[in-house]
Symmetry: C2
Subunit: 139 residues, 2 copies
Amino acid sequence: MNAVERLSDYGIKPSVQRIAIMEYLMTHRTHPTADEVYMALCDSIPTLSKTTVYNTLKLFVDQQAALMLTIDDKLVRFDGDTSLHSHFLCRRCGRVHDLPYSGKKREARELQIEGHAVEEIHHYYKGICRECKEKENLN
Amino acid sequence: MNAVERLSDYGIKPSVQRIAIMEYLMTHRTHPTADEVYMALCDSIPTLSKTTVYNTLKLFVDQQAALMLTIDDKLVRFDGDTSLHSHFLCRRCGRVHDLPYSGKKREARELQIEGHAVEEIHHYYKGICRECKEKENLN
DNA sequence: TTACAGGTTTGTACTGATTACAATTTTAAT
DNA sequence: ATTAAAATTGTAATCAGTACAAACCTGTAA
């Protein structure tokens, strides 16, 4: 699946900017911030505006073509992988790693929890990631 | 357990401000923002500074006497209940409701997931809360 | 009592991510 | 080719949160 197909799957009209941003999300599983997306693309699209990046990422989230992660209290991150999975934020290196969804399988399909209509599930974990732990142990 | 006891349990020296803020967190399970805490207390402590509220809440979180919730992308919220539980954000009324922790019991005691050292677990759910759904159905 | 030292609080100024908005450009249809 | 609608852009503004230095306590020891 390419970026254009994915956009139209979610009812988003393609444009140079939208395709580039979606492509970036699809090929970089780093959970980038809006600024990181902008910095990565502004060379290849010199006229790109930061406002467009913000608007476009918001559009993707509204259309459910991307996830907005608020795991970090400073920065909002975005994830092009909308499948049900969890996230791990390393307080050492600041990276966000994907984890398989660890909740009850049943719950993920439930529309209701305690009478509330659930539309989004976010499972976040924080700590020190494997790579940072291994580096630490070398010292 | 009163606020002063709770502070000393977490190695925090009591002061008028710290006691008032901890007391507010203990008696208001609304997951308030720093600004909400400030607005609630500035009448009874007229000299209270917003910086103090921010600093104190940060101190509580660092000492693990409170939780910082980043369920909302706009505002950081605080929770005086540090027991393992989940949260539901209603996109209609904006309130955050508590939910029992629904993850696997095993996982909560694990220090590691996929090799990462887990220090914090945050399970967030978003949607429309029961009260808002019921109000909606009346119309 | 006085003076000092440490920690705490305060107010102001600043930062930096995000948004509002109006102008410009592009797209699509007639 | 015209025109309307949609998309993009740049600038200015917003506003939660923070840095910093001055002022203020609190306890201790001369």
